[in-house]
Point group: C2
Chain length 168, copies 2
DNA sequence: CGCTACTTTCACATATTTGTGAAGTTAAGA
DNA sequence: TCTTAACTTCACAAATATGTGAAAGTAGCG
């Protein structure tokens, strides 16, 4: 079972693809994402099929299987890619859905929740009648507000998207 | 001009304060922020005055002036603290506003903008008629949508906040 | 104009992160 | 059941990031 046996993807200018991958990954890194997960994610995003095997990723990004494995584990935890076992092969494919960003955003919400609970503790332990307590209470209220807004926003997005791109 | 000459803040249980500071900072770190900026920000948030000098920060966090300087520079760039020169002293105070989070969010918007332009390049260079191009175009549309929503959301927050906390 | 209180910059030692090769594990197919 | 392709784990070397002390810069105040 050779690599070349899978022309899953008619090749475009690999130069251009690579340039996009590295550029986009750099932006993600700057926003706080680790380098390798960022590169893997960008590579998937730029692939026509939206799904690549470990070997394909390794080849495109010039990294070892170990590096791919680590990156993919991270991305899967963050719900940014899903894994699929190809039936009848021991290969695994890693896929981005175009709506994967919702999952990623949802995950950000988990971060917000943790901030909120830390703030709640802070308000309690510093006292809600102190200036610091009041500031933290307001901050907390802000996050709670944002939580709710995000849910509503995603609903509006689904509608907007259907109008613009049609139902999937 | 001694340190002790400024009882800006009636002291609460320093134990509890420190526990909050380290806990909240840890959450911020986990979300991608560097350790020292996170600790400084948490310390400011938990102070009654909402503003501390470099020396006070150094003392509370047990770090050198150099570390405070670096952290504060970063936070100011991110618009998460503002600097104020105390008139009649060469001390500087670093302040959090309770609405500082808006600024921070606004800054996140700058990140989104950069993602958008990277995606736009990707769509162009990979071709908008390819599957990958279409996926990226949809992703781009999502971010553009989010941009607009955030602006609207912040307006709603201002209203909500005024109802709940009164005008500042 | 100094003097000196405060802040910033810089070189460096230390800690942390990152990616690799190689060994280990799993499961498809004979 | 055995073989072996494919993925994962692990110990380690290299690259990065982090915080410090010390030196250099700034700006109030006499």
């Amino acid at each position: 079972m050779r690599e070349a046996a899978e022309p899953t993807e008619r090749e475009r200018d690999p130069e251009a693809v690579s340039k996009f991958v590295e550029g986009f990954a750099a932006q993600l890194v700057e926003a706080g994402m680790q380098r390798m997960p960022a590169r893997v994610f960008a590579a998937l995003l730029s692939s026509d099929s939206g799904a690549l095997t470990s070997a394909e990723l390794g080849a495109r990004l010039q990294v070892s299987p170990a590096a791919v494995s680590g990156a993919v584990r991270y991305l899967a935890q963050q719900h940014m890619v899903s894994r699929e076992r190809e039936p009848g092969s021991r290969r695994e494919r890693y896929r981005v859905h175009s709506d994967q960003w919702y999952e990623a955003l949802t995950n950000r919400e988990a971060v917000l929740k943790r901030w909120e609970s830390a703030l709640r503790e802070g308000v309690t332990s510093l006292g809600e009648d102190t200036p610091a307590g009041r500031r933290m209470a307001e901050t907390l209220a802000f996050f709670e507000f944002v939580d709710g807004e995000i849910v509503a926003m995603m609903e509006r997005w689904r509608v907007h998207r259907e109008e613009r791109f049609g139902r999937r």
